[in-house]
C-alpha cells in the first residue's frame, strides 16, 4: 500500500527577469509610462516547468541537477516559501528544512538563547525545546560555550549548533540541502549518522545536493532536474548515471587546435560502458585523439581528481613506457589504459590531456572528461582504499 506524504502535480513557477519596482520613486514614472505606452513587456522565464513527483512515507528521495536547474526553487516551494504559479504541492504532516543551518541566530545572544530562538523559528514549541535541550547540547558538543554569545563562536561551532537544533526538530518530512558539508570531518560523520538514524525512524527525507556520493548513499529513489523540468526519475543509481553521462560529451571543437580529444569512454572489465565501479575493480579508459594537422610524438596524459578537484592520480602513456604517436591530418588513434581503482567511495573526475613532452606542448585539455563513482562494501573514508582487514583484537594483560 502506498502512502504518499509529498506530491507535486504539474508544478510551474514563473520568474521575472530584470527589475521589479522596488521603490515608490520608480513606480510613479513607470505607471505614467505604462499609461502612455500600454502594457509593459517583461521577460519571463520558467524556473520550474511541469514538475511531477511523489514521495512515499519513510522514503529517502534525492534531487540532483546542475546549478540553475531549479533545485533551490523547488526546495523553496517544498518549504512553503514560494508559491507555485500553477500546479499543486501536497505535503502531509510537519515539514522541516535543513537549508541554512543557524538561520535566525542572533550574534549578541548566547548559545542557549539561540537554541530557543532558532528552535521556535524552525517550528518547535518552547516546551519541546526544553525537553530536547540536553540532547541538542550534547549533539553540538558545545556544553562549555552555552553562555557565550554566538558572535564569539568559530564558524564550525556556529554550524554545529545550527545543525544540532535542526536535527532535533523531528518532522514528518525532512528537506536537506547541502548541509553535510558543514563543520569538521568528525562532525560531518555525526551528521550523516544522524541522518541515517532519522531515516530509520521512519522520517521521509528529501535530499538535495551536488554531492552525488551522499545522494547515492542515502537515497533509494531520485530525480534529475534540468532547466526546470524533470529529465529523469526513478532508482537513484539510474538517475545518477543519467546525470553523469550528461554534459561531459564533446568539448566544443576549436578549429585552431591541431589535435583534440574526440572521445573518452570509461568501461568496466567486461567492456561495457560504466560510471559506477566497485573499489578495487579494474576500469578501462579509452581516449580517442583526432588530428586536424600533422603532429608528432603525442602522448596521452590521464588524471583522476576527487570531488573538490584535488588531484588524486596522474600518469601518461609515455611515462608508462608506451611509444609516442605521430598523426597525419584527419587521422585518429585510441589509447586504452587500465586502472585498478583502489579508491575510497566517492565521486571522481577523469581528465585527459594530449601532450608532447620534448617541446612541452599541451595540445588539448579535457577535464573533467568523465565523472565516475566508486562504491565500497566496507566503510572506508578518505581518498585511497587500502583494502583493510581486522586481523585480531585480542585483550592482553
Amino acid at each position: 500500500m502506498s502512502d504518499i506524504v509529498l506530491e507535486a502535480r504539474g508544478l510551474h513557477k514563473k520568474f521575472r527577469k530584470g527589475e521589479l519596482y522596488t521603490s515608490l520613486r520608480d513606480l510613479v514614472p513607470a505607471l505614467a509610462k505604462r499609461a502612455v505606452k500600454g502594457g509593459l513587456d517583461k521577460s519571463e522565464f520558467w524556473a520550474l516547468k511541469d514538475v511531477n513527483f511523489q514521495v512515499e512515507r519513510g522514503e529517502a528521495f534525492g534531487i540532483i541537477g546542475h546549478n540553475g536547474a531549479g533545485k533551490s526553487t523547488l526546495l523553496k516551494h517544498l518549504c512553503g516559501i514560494l508559491m507555485p504559479t500553477s500546479g499543486e504541492l501536497v505535503v502531509k504532516g510537519r515539514l522541516s528544512a535543513l537549508i541554512e543551518v543557524g538561520a535566525g541566530f542572533h550574534p549578541d545572544l548566547t548559545g542557549r538563547d539561540n537554541i530557543y530562538l532558532n528552535g521556535t523559528i524552525l517550528g518547535m514549541t518552547r516546551a519541546e525545546i526544553r525537553s530536547k535541550f540536553d540532547a541538542i547540547v550534547e549533539f553540538s558538543e558545545l556544553a562549555d560555550f552555552l553562555d557565550t554569545p554566538v558572535k564569539r563562536y568559530s564558524s564550525g561551532m556556529y554550524a554545529r549548533l545550527g545543525f544540532a537544533v535542526a536535527a532535533h526538530v523531528e518532522p514528518d518530512v525532512l528537506v536537506v540541502d547541502e548541509v553535510l558539508s558543514v563543520g569538521d570531518f568528525v562532525f560531518q560523520r555525526k551528521s550523516v549518522e544522524k541522518m541515517r538514524q532519522v531515516m530509520k525512524g521512519g522520517t521521509t527525507v528529501v535530499f538535495v545536493s551536488h554531492n552525488l556520493r551522499a545522494v547515492a548513499d542515502l537515497c533509494k529513489r531520485g530525480m534529475l532536474l534540468d532547466h526546470g523540468t524533470v529529465s529523469a526519475i526513478g532508482p537513484v543509481t539510474e538517475v545518477v548515471k543519467t546525470y553523469m553521462e550528461r554534459g561531459t560529451e564533446g568539448a566544443a571543437d576549436d578549429p585552431t587546435k591541431d589535435v583534440y580529444v574526440s572521445r573518452v569512454t570509461l568501461r568496466d572489465e567486461a567492456g561495457a560502458e560504466a560510471v559506477q565501479f566497485d573499489a578495487g575493480q579494474r576500469m578501462i579508459a579509452e581516449v580517442e585523439v583526432t588530428a586536424r594537422r600533422a603532429t608528432e610524438r603525442l602522448a596521452v596524459v590521464i588524471e583522476c581528481r576527487d570531488e573538490e578537484m584535488y588531484e588524486v592520480f596522474n600518469t601518461s602513456t609515455q611515462r608508462l613506457g608506451a611509444e609516442t604517436v605521430d598523426l597525419a591530418p584527419g587521422e585518429k588513434f585510441t589509447a586504452r589504459l587500465a586502472l585498478r581503482l583502489h579508491l575510497a567511495p566517492g565521486t571522481y573526475h577523469f581528465g585527459v590531456y594530449v601532450y608532447r613532452y620534448d617541446i612541452q606542448k599541451n595540445y588539448d585539455t579535457l577535464t573533467p572528461a568523465k565523472t565516475f563513482y566508486v562504491r565500497s562494501l566496507i566503510d572506508v573514508r578518505g581518498v585511497a582504499h587500502l583494502e583493510p582487514e581486522v586481523l585480531s583484537q585480542d585483550k592482553s594483560g
Binding site: 519596482y21 522596488t22 521603490s23 545572544l109 530562538l117 517550528g123
Partner: protein
C-alpha cells in the same frame, strides 16, 4: 483577522522568542540599560517643557507644574507610537534572510517589533505612574478610560505596523517616507500643546487618529473628566478599520514576500 489570530496562536512561542530577542539584544550590551526605555519620553518631555516656557513667555503667564504634567503623560505613548512604527516598518526587510529561507507566519516580525516596544512603554509607564502619584492629583473614576485608550493606541499601531512592514518590502523607500512623517508628526499631534488652545480650529488636529487618544489620556488623568466621546469613537473607528483591513491584506500579500525581498 481571525485567520491571523489562529496562525499567531499556533506560533505564539515564536512571537515570544522574537520579542524577547529584540528586548534582550537592546538591553544586554548597553550601559544605559533600562534607562533606554525612559530616554525617549524624557527627551520629548524636556522639549515640551521648552516649548511650554516659550508659550508662557509669550502669553505672560507663569509656568506651573500642571502645565508640564500633560506633556509627560503624552510623551510616553507618543514615543511608543513612533518607535513601534519605525522598527516594524523595517522588520520584514531586516529579516530578509529568514523571510527567504524558512516558512512561518511573517506577521511575527512586525508584531514582535511592536511587542518589544510595548516592553519599553511599560517601563516608561511605571515611571509616569510614580510621577502622577507624587504630583498630588486625586484619582477619579475617569481613570478607567485609560486602559481603553491605550488599547486603541496599540490596535492602531498593530494595524499600521502590518501595513507598513509589507509596503516596505515592495517599495524600499517607504521607510524614508515613514521616517520623514514621524519626524514632523509631533507638530501635528497634541503632545506639547493641547487641542483646546486652538479653539474650534483644533478639531482639525483631532483628525489625526492618535490625537484623540493623547487628549483622552490628558483628560482622564490630569483634568479629571471623561474624554470627548465623539472623538474617542472616531479613534476607535480607525483602530477597528485598521485591524479588519491590514491583517487580511498582509495575509494576501504574504506569498509574494519571498520574491520581493
Amino acid at each position: 483577522m481571525m485567520a491571523m489570530l489562529r496562525l499567531l496562536g499556533r506560533h505564539r512561542d515564536l512571537l515570544y522568542m522574537l520579542s524577547r530577542r529584540d528586548v534582550t539584544v537592546k538591553y544586554k550590551q548597553s550601559i544605559m540599560g533600562f534607562l533606554w526605555a525612559i530616554l525617549m519620553p524624557l527627551l520629548i518631555t524636556s522639549a515640551g517643557v521648552v516649548v511650554k516656557i516659550a508659550m508662557a513667555e509669550m502669553s505672560g503667564k507663569a509656568i506651573v507644574f500642571r502645565d508640564v504634567l500633560p506633556v509627560a503623560i503624552k510623551a510616553a505613548p507618543w514615543a511608543f507610537f513612533v518607535a513601534s512604527i519605525r522598527f516594524s516598518t523595517q522588520s520584514l526587510s531586516n529579516n530578509y534572510n529568514l523571510v527567504t529561507k524558512i516558512a512561518f507566519p511573517r506577521a511575527v516580525f512586525p508584531l514582535s517589533s511592536v511587542a518589544s516596544q510595548l516592553f519599553d512603554f511599560a517601563i516608561a509607564t511605571s515611571v509616569i505612574v510614580v510621577i502622577v502619584v507624587f504630583s498630588g492629583i486625586s484619582p477619579t473614576v475617569h481613570l478607567l478610560w485609560v486602559p481603553l485608550l491605550l488599547a486603541l493606541l496599540i490596535a492602531q499601531v498593530v494595524g499600521l505596523a502590518l501595513l507598513l512592514s509589507a509596503a516596505n518590502l515592495f517599495f524600499r523607500d517607504v521607510k524614508y517616507l515613514v521616517e520623514v512623517v514621524l519626524t514632523f508628526a509631533i507638530f501635528f499631534t497634541p503632545v506639547f500643546y493641547s487641542v483646546a488652545q486652538f479653539g474650534d480650529r483644533g478639531k482639525l488636529l483631532l483628525l489625526n487618529p492618535v490625537a484623540p487618544v493623547l487628549e483622552g489620556l490628558d483628560a482622564a488623568i490630569v483634568q479629571g473628566h471623561a474624554p470627548d466621546l465623539f472623538w474617542t469613537v472616531y479613534a476607535a473607528g480607525w483602530a477597528v478599520v485598521l485591524l479588519l483591513v491590514t491583517p487580511a491584506l498582509f495575509l494576501r500579500l504574504e506569498p509574494k514576500f519571498a520574491e520581493s525581498v
